[in-house]
Symmetry: C2
Subunit: 342 residues, 2 copies
């Protein structure tokens, strides 16, 4: 008897744990060819599920879910990509639940996922990014975590003790500010995001702190929050450009916003980075596809997804992973930033 | 007693049918505030589930699933957006399953979704876009459709009798060709896609047919298939530009490819549309965000998703929708196409 697990068999057969489980327990139909492949691998390794494994097999459904706010923002599909690849390697099948950041939908998904008995949940956006998360919403997540493992990505519920993986977004925003300072910029604006969201305010505060170290304040009229989409960035940037004294550099809350800001700037007849430098956040695939290519902060999205799944897998298997896993961001310098014109 | 249904209650309460069902049948916990809201609506309308409704409630899980190949291609999130909004309005909760077009993953999801007893499935990509779908894969879908309703979007399984909603992509490709002909182009190339996929070959053939009506052939070296990503478009376009006699216009398989082609063309020192016209397909949000803005073919993605859900809903409720629903594409003229230079 070898020490091979159901996960190894799933991996070798390139199927999910639930498929192997279905073959072993005969709980649901499996394609004949898939069944044969799994049985031959089981035979080859002389796999015999022991009592503990048997109970695990019965308990585990082999499916995990990711709850996230917006798949049309390319940041989230990138995180998902890392998560799904890792989950696949570990033998899980993945359900994706899109919430639009709406807490009712989050509640609904949490409830349904419990009913459908998934093995664990990765949670992004919505309530875990609120500056102040209402007690009932926080409680709901904590209650749920008693029934199944939950890992929060790039967010937090204060004092909940929930496991989480996140990029140090404040450090990333400070890097963006530092890069602009080194290029001689002193007239700097911040565009995008929402003041109710911690992920936005962490960035705003980190930029302010870094600039203050150099005696620079961002006046109110240069802090234009207003959303996360391309159109939001375009609209807010055009407001900045219509001011009497436009900034020489703009830090955007994400790449989508920065792409909108580039669009607006060029339509305004200005040149990037000669007249204005623009910097994004996330390093989505679009960042290197636009012209000029976008200077941005990489959040290591693939790693973020991967490590969230590793942590969840550990929790599902009664491991004791550390409560927090912090990833460092990186500055990616491309074409949209340059020396200050004044 | 009124003729109000569980769907109406779900809609008014802004929750899914499954949540209402959980309250009515007390099968799983529901947040107290949500329960109260639902109960007050039930009371207000004096809703009494009749026998048939009761059986429906028991049978239906209130969840539907969408199986699609690649959420990092913005076309699919756009379809999903239309589908999800409509599903939400009808009281469903949505699971998204990402397959990377891999038929093993498709099989796995089909099997798991059956096990999890979703009410129906919307299927995009993968096997339903193969020029030749292997019998066992076709059979699997047809078998599944005996257990739950399935709607195919922008694809088909020949002779399966499965319901489907699709855009007439051939008509769209012909529109793109016609637009270029009207601008005086005769040196036209086709970039992107894969020859194994019907969605690609439908476009290639429609372009060829339209051009032949004007005595023009696309030579082999101007048919550069090679994938669906931005990078694929960039790479294939640069091959075209290195040829002795580059074309004056390029039709790309999708917007991602066209954005890559624009990137490559500008890096090559050429001007769009003065030197080369580029046209995309899908009208994703990126099309109007790039510079120059992309001329493209709209697939009415939102409608595509919406109508797929309407058809599925009809099937779930034992309706008899017509087997096919065809949407007409539209030409969206922006800045990336202009008169032929020669």
């Amino acid at each position: 008897m070898t020490s091979i697990t159901i996960y190894d068999i799933a991996k070798e057969a390139n199927v999910s744990v639930s498929t192997v489980s279905r073959v072993l327990n005969d709980t649901a139909p499996v394609r004949a060819s898939t069944r044969e492949k799994i049985m031959s691998i089981i035979e080859k390794h002389q796999f015999q599920p022991n009592a503990q494994a048997r109970s695990l097999i019965k308990k585990e459904t082999g499916t995990i879910a990711i709850i996230l706010p917006d798949i049309t923002n390319p940041f989230f599909p990138e995180v998902f990509w890392g998560a799904e690849n890792e989950a696949r390697g570990l033998g899980y099948t993945f359900f994706l639940c899109n919430t639009a950041g709406d807490s009712n939908r989050e509640s609904e998904y949490l409830s349904i996922l419990r009913e459908k008995r998934v093995d664990g949940i990765i949670f992004l956006g919505g309530r875990i990014n609120l500056q102040v998360c209402p007690d009932n919403m926080a409680q709901e997540l904590m209650d749920m975590s008693r029934h199944m493992p939950i890992v929060l990505v790039n967010g937090n519920i204060a004092k909940s003790g929930l496991h989480r993986v996140y990029t140090d977004e404040g450090a990333g925003a400070a890097m963006a500010a530092e890069h602009l300072l080194e290029l001689g910029h002193r007239e700097i604006a911040f565009v995008g995001g929402m003041k109710e969201l911690s992920t936005t305010m962490v960035k705003v505060k980190a930029v302010q702190k870094k600039l203050r170290e150099h005696g620079i304040e961002i006046p109110k009229e240069r802090q234009l929050l207003g959303g996360f989409s391309i159109d939001d960035g375009k609209r807010e940037m055009s407001k900045l450009l219509q001011q009497d004294n436009p900034p020489t550099a703009v830090i955007c809350v994400n790449d989508n916003n920065a792409i909108g800001a580039i669009k607006s700037t060029i339509e305004y007849g200005l040149s990037i980075p000669k007249d204005i430098s623009i910097i994004g956040f996330d390093d989505t695939p679009l960042a290197s596809a636009v012209i000029p290519e976008l200077t941005t902060i990489s959040q290591n999205t693939y790693q973020l997804g991967k490590q969230a799944v590793d942590m969840l897998h550990d929790l599902i298997n009664q491991g004791k992973p550390k409560k927090q896993n912090v990833l460092e961001p990186r500055l990616i310098i491309r074409q949209s930033t340059g020396p200050a014109a004044r």
